[in-house]
């Protein structure tokens, strides 16, 4: 037994130098490359490449099944003189501004209401979000039926109340059709705005309201000088998303009106689908959808500044 202790420790290996391969293997940049690979592959092949390809297609006269030759700015020049394109730009801007403004108003109001203490609070909050969950196309179909020209429940109710004598041709009249798609968009967007703003409202410290109450502030003053300034950053972000998704909306319009009557509800997205996929003129369709990019960039800038300000308010350093 004793000689075990005396034996030289030959069995113990010397500390090896790390080989080049092991150094590479533990290099964080090398590991990160493999971790990033799947996500990057998707984003490059199916997002960055198509984005570039879309800009290229807009400079060609490509049609479905034919690659097309380079034609320079011809598609854009064509669009410049196209009154339907300008109508769609007008419709898109109208749709976006009106719907976003009302969504913001009602959403903020709903968030303030839901923030109050009341029975069945949790259930109400859950119910409010349902329009946002249900596939937009399917709820748009419900609106299509609600706004039907002959069997609309709204027309029927108004007639019963004696307010109108004839059915309203909701989706057949230029102005009514615009109002109806804007209404459906608001209906779908309000829950998102309300629930995200509610999350923001709950982070506002109650001691601020207590202090304001002691100072004799009215409810409006409390809202104007406490709630609103503290919510501004999150409002900026939520509204950027809302504007972005309203601006590029497609499904609601396609399911309810397909751009009609007489193109009065065509948005840029629906017009580009109609020209590119149904009409087969890929180049022109791509030019229309590329025309949305400047507007989107403007919205993204707003979002970026909103985020910056938010970080600054929370006292985070910009990591």
């Amino acid at each position: 037994m004793a000689d075990i202790a005396v034996q030289p420790r030959a069995a113990r290996p010397p500390i090896r130098e790390a080989t080049a391969w092991q150094q590479v293997k533990s290099n964080r940049n090398f590991i990160a490359l493999w971790f990033m690979l799947p996500a990057m592959a998707f984003l490059i092949f199916f997002l960055a490449y198509p984005l570039g390809l879309g800009i290229w297609i807009s400079f060609t006269d490509a049609r479905i099944g034919r690659p097309g030759a380079f034609v320079g700015l011809e598609n854009y020049e064509w669009l410049w003189d196209d009154s339907i394109f300008w109508l769609s730009v007008f419709n898109t801007l109208l749709y976006t501004f009106v719907a976003s403004a009302i969504k913001f108003g009602i959403g903020l109001y709903l968030a303030l209401l839901l923030n109050e203490n009341m029975p069945f609070k949790a259930m109400l909050r859950a119910l409010v979000l349902i329009p946002f969950i249900v596939p937009t196309v399917l709820s748009a179909l419900a609106f299509w039926w609600i706004f039907d020209s002959q069997f609309s429940i709204i027309s029927w109710s108004l007639k019963e109340m004696g307010l109108i004598t004839e059915n309203i041709n909701f989706l057949g009249d230029v102005y009514w059709a615009r109002a109806c798609v804007i209404f459906a968009n608001i209906w779908r967007g309000v829950p998102f705005v309300a629930i995200t703003l509610l999350a923001g409202l709950q982070t506002v410290s109650p001691s601020l309201y207590e202090a304001a109450t002691l100072d004799g502030a009215t409810r409006w003053q409390m809202f104007r000088n406490i709630t609103y300034p503290l919510l501004t950053p999150i409002i900026a972000v939520v509204m950027t998303f809302s504007v972005l998704f309203t601006f590029t909306d497609f499904q609601l319009i396609w399911a309810m009106t397909r751009g009609g009557p007489v193109n009065s509800t065509h948005l840029m997205a629906t017009l580009s689908y109609q020209r590119a996929i149904i009409g087969g003129v890929l180049g022109e369709g791509a030019a229309i959808s590329n025309a949305m990019i400047p507007f989107l960039l403007a919205a993204i800038m707003v979002s970026w500044f909103g985020l910056q300000r938010r970080k600054w308010q929370q006292g985070e350093n910009n990591d």
Binding site: R28, N29, A32, F35, P38, A39, M40, F42, F45, F46, L47, P50, L51, L53, L110, L113, L114, N115, N117, M118, K121, A122, A126, L129, I130, F132, I133, P135, V137, L138, S139, A142, W145, F151, I153, I195, T196, L198, A199, Q202, T203, V204, P206, Y209, E210, T213, L244, F245, T248, D249, F250, Q251, W254, Y273, I277, A286, S289, M292, I293, L296
Partner: protein, 311 residues
């Protein structure tokens, strides 16, 4: 350990209304003692109930239309249109046995599950690398992923259609399974980055000292701790897939391959005056899976929605 309660303040409490936070408690007490019941009636309950009724009415109308007999649907004056005493399952029967509806449901489910799983795997790896490996340029990549989130499908569908055609995926489920992740990965990466940031760094350092590899750290420490985040990301991605319309409309042409939203809009809308019953039954049946999923995971859903915005 599974629920790290250190994440962004009361995202979870938003819907649960559990008022875990001091904020909600004090706030409500501070506000409501000043108000009498009639005043609350006018300022709170009345506007709230109007908004909630408007928000829910289309679903009621959808469900009612789906079970109303045809003659009652079109004759608003003989019968009270807001209720029916003799519901029929004719429309739903027609939907299930005289159309491809079950097949469409299966397609939608298949595409949504595959695309979601792919995206979550890719996003977990990417988010972990960005937050914890902090490789050179990680901040920039994070920024680009956020920008990718803002690229809408409406400007991508035309070039993507040609890409899908080039890759030979046109009119197959893979066209959707491979393109949906471009919408889902930016979102879920951004969401998971927020979750991973809340996991204490010390845990990973201990594991590193014990000789764990990065892969072991990810699968044995980080992932078990971020299960709530994973559920949120999964549910939200699944919903986005189920909702997606423009890619499915563009990339799929044969009737058997379509997903529910596209199929209902294209195949059910014909000249028939009596189409409304089955149309609404189809819309209802297409919405129900999501509503049921939502009912079980309300809190995760909200934390996903607000998390992506707040992060």
């Amino acid at each position: 350990m599974t629920d790290l309660r250190t994440q962004p303040v009361d995202l979870k409490a938003v819907l649960s209304g559990s008022a875990r936070t001091v904020a909600a408690d004090d706030h409500s007490v501070g506000m409501s003692y000043l108000e009498s019941l009639p005043r609350r009636m006018v300022t709170l309950y009345l506007p709230l109930s109007i908004i909630v009724i408007v928000l829910l009415f289309p679903f009621y109308w959808m469900a009612l239309t789906a079970v109303k007999p045809d003659e009652q649907l079109l004759d608003l004056n003989t019968y009270n249109p807001f209720w029916t005493w003799n519901p029929t399952f004719k429309h739903i029967h027609k939907l299930l046995f005289d159309s491809y509806y079950p097949l469409w449901l299966w397609n939608t489910m298949y595409v949504a599950v595959c695309a979601t799983v792919l995206s979550i795997v890719a996003s977990v790896l990417a988010a972990y690398a960005i937050v914890r490996l902090r490789y050179r340029g990680a901040q920039w990549v994070g920024g680009f992923i956020f920008l990718a989130y803002l690229v809408p499908p409406s400007i991508l569908f035309i070039p993507l259609a040609t890409v899908v055609f080039q890759y030979g995926l046109f009119d197959t489920p893979f066209a959707l399974i491979l393109t949906y992740p471009t919408i889902l990965i930016p979102f879920s990466t951004w969401l998971l980055m927020g979750y991973f940031k809340t996991i204490p760094f010390e845990l990973e350092e201990c594991a590193l000292i014990d000789g764990a590899s990065r892969w072991q750290i990810l699968t044995k420490i980080v992932l078990p701790l971020s299960i709530p985040g994973l559920i949120s990301a999964f549910i939200f991605c699944f919903t986005l897939c189920w909702n997606e319309f423009i890619y499915a409309l563009t990339f799929l042409t044969s009737v058997q391959n379509k997903t529910v939203p596209v199929a209902i809009v294209n195949e059910f809308v014909d000249g028939d005056v009596y189409r409304w019953g089955s149309l609404m039954a189809g819309a209802l049946a297409g919405s129900l899976p999501l509503v049921i999923l939502y009912a079980f995971f309300v809190e995760h859903y909200v934390s996903a929605m607000t998390g992506a915005v707040k992060e």
